[in-house]
């Protein structure tokens, strides 16, 4: 019997543990149709129906098609983070999985890092699908390099989406987290003018929604007319994310 009861953990294995958690978090959600189908299919369906069919009937040409495409990418990339954190954290908080994982020597932060990576993976797939649909049947006329830039900027949108989701997941009861996440998701999309232009008060208060800032960033990256400075939008999104994460961490640290 040697006295090395617990061999030291090489850094490379710690890094591998983070990756393995991210891999299995993505894998299990891809294999969970209740999660993956709405997250992947809804943006495509909505975009095809509202963004392409109805807009095509209204007749607006290339500029409108590009506008709609950019608006729907905002919607698409918000989903994985919002639901991945919003529903799953609330449910897992209550079902003993978090307790089991806390008992295991899981690296600190790996639980949340895995969900963040999962949200990125899903967001990239959603972006790719939307782009394919946009180019093939959506009359999108943005050049390829611009599309890549939009995709890169939009994948940053995963971070505020995860922050909003984590906040919901930390505070909402497991039974109502899904409903709350849906209301917040659709509500923010409508109220920030993603789907159709707003007017009056609703237009004036758009800047309170993170989706508004994300969509202005998306427009700027696509070389379209945008409101305000991209740096300000970035700063607001970063600050909002930080506040929501801190509030969530406060709740989760109470081991609730």
């Amino acid at each position: 019997m040697t006295d090395a009861v617990v061999p030291p953990m090489p850094l490379i294995r710690v890094v591998r543990a983070y990756f393995s958690d991210a891999k299995y978090e993505s894998l299990r959600l891809l294999r969970t149709p209740a999660f993956s189908v709405p997250i992947l299919a809804m943006p495509i369906l909505f975009y095809s129906f509202f963004g392409i069919m109805l807009a095509g009937r209204a007749g607006g040409g290339g500029q409108l098609a590009n506008n709609l495409f950019v608006g729907w990418t905002v919607y698409g990339v918000m989903g994985p983070g919002l639901f991945g954190f919003g529903i799953l954290v609330a449910v897992e908080r209550n079902m003993g999985l978090m307790t089991f994982k806390r008992a295991l020597p899981m690296p600190t932060g790996s639980y949340l890092a895995a969900k963040l990576m999962m949200a990125f993976v899903f967001a990239v797939v959603v972006m790719a699908l939307l782009t394919i649909v946009g180019i093939t049947i959506g009359h999108v006329t943005l050049p390829p390099m611009t599309l890549v830039r939009v995709a890169a900027i939009m994948s940053l949108g995963v971070i505020p989406a995860c922050a909003v989701g984590l906040f919901i997941g930390a505070w909402a009861p497991a039974s109502s987290a899904a409903a709350i996440a849906n209301i917040v998701y659709l509500g923010m999309a409508f109220l920030s003018g993603l789907f159709f232009p707003l007017s009056g008060v609703m237009e004036k208060i758009r800047p309170i929604w993170p989706t508004y800032h994300l969509s202005q960033l998306a427009r700027a990256s696509a070389g379209m007319k945008s409101e305000g400075s991209p740096l300000v939008h970035l700063a607001i999104l970063a600050a909002l994310s930080a506040i929501l994460v801190l509030l969530a961490a406060r709740k989760l640290a109470r081991r609730g």
Binding site: V5, V6, M9, R13, S20, R28, L29, R102, P105
Partner: protein, 303 residues
């Protein structure tokens, strides 16, 4: 414990004077518990005795209201300490879209020197379940998969909270064989169970808990010896009321022609039985099993 992660003490985990209450319920009332190197420690006790809470404290899942908790000489919140630990909890919902082999790979990634996937599956006896999604497993198969997760990291200390609940006989034998092999290899196991025969079959040491305290501790034989009670069965025509009037009688139960007596003075009772009924047959005298010892000890603690 030195910073290189080595621990040479002979006590792998320790609770000293641990107290824990949930609202008005006292879960632990000053429990002292030691897990020594290379032993299989069975923690016995009725529901609500505090067994699961004790394990929760040792894993850092809950904080004691008073007292000390040590795991490999460190705080259980220390990741380095938990890297030496494997765990099978009573109620756990795993990501059920993942296959058993995924769960094993995911869990073993947390440990410095885990078993290979194949070794883990073989030791837990779940090779055939490797590609089955967790959600498709039966209750007993889920326990087997959870057992695989408890051993995959080659831990030096394994906590098993009621591990064989819901297992069929074959699966239970496989698990017992693996537990014996793990202990023979030098690791320690803490097992809570309400199957007395499990403790009798496996344990080097038994701790009996009741009402949040350890009320008895020792080998299986020690625990049985704590209780002088014996059981006497026979077929006799003697009246139960007559037997009950004798000294040293604790209970007397008649079922048809058979009478079951528990008594502290077995020899005296047998003498009186044979004197009172020369036609008495089927006489049998047994030392109380761990089960009876256990019932008596926990009842005494409750009084």
């Amino acid at each position: 414990m030195a910073d290189d992660g080595k621990w040479s003490g002979d006590v792998l985990a320790r609770l000293s004077g641990a107290k824990k209450r949930y609202g008005d319920t006292v879960a632990l009332d000053g429990l002292d518990l030691e897990v020594r190197r290379g032993e299989l420690l069975a923690v016995l006790g009725p529901n609500g005795a505090g067994k699961t809470t004790a394990i929760g404290l040792l894993l850092g899942l809950q904080e004691p209201d008073a007292g000390d908790v040590e795991l490999f000489g460190r705080s259980p919140h220390d990741l380095a300490a938990r890297r030496g630990v494997g765990v099978m909890m009573q109620e756990v919902a795993l990501p059920d879209a993942l296959q058993v082999r995924d769960l094993v790979s995911m869990t073993s990634a947390y440990y410095p020197d885990p078993l290979s996937l194949e070794e883990t599956l073989a030791q837990a006896g779940v090779e055939k379940l490797a590609r089955r999604p967790y959600i498709k497993l039966s209750g007993g198969q889920k326990r087997q998969a959870q057992f695989a997760l408890a051993i995959c990291g080659r831990p030096q200390l394994i906590f098993l909270d009621e591990p064989t609940t819901g297992l069929d006989v074959t699966a239970r034998e496989t698990m017992w064989a693996t537990l014996r092999r793990i202990v023979a290899g030098g690791a320690s196991i803490v097992l809570t169970t309400h199957y007395i025969e499990e403790a009798e079959a496996l344990a080097d040491r038994v701790v009996v808990m009741a009402k949040g305290r350890g009320i008895a501790e020792g080998t299986v034989r020690d625990i049985r010896d704590l209780v002088v009670r014996k059981r006497i069965d026979c077929a006799t025509v003697l009246d139960v009321a007559v037997i009950e009037a004798w000294p040293g009688i604790i209970t007397t139960i008649r079922e048809g022609i058979r009478v079951s007596i528990t008594a502290t003075d077995a020899e005296g009772v047998v003498r009186r039985l044979l004197d009172g009924d020369p036609a008495l047959t089927d006489l049998e005298v047994r030392r109380a099993g761990l089960s009876e010892a256990f019932t008596e000890l926990t009842q005494e603690a409750a009084e």
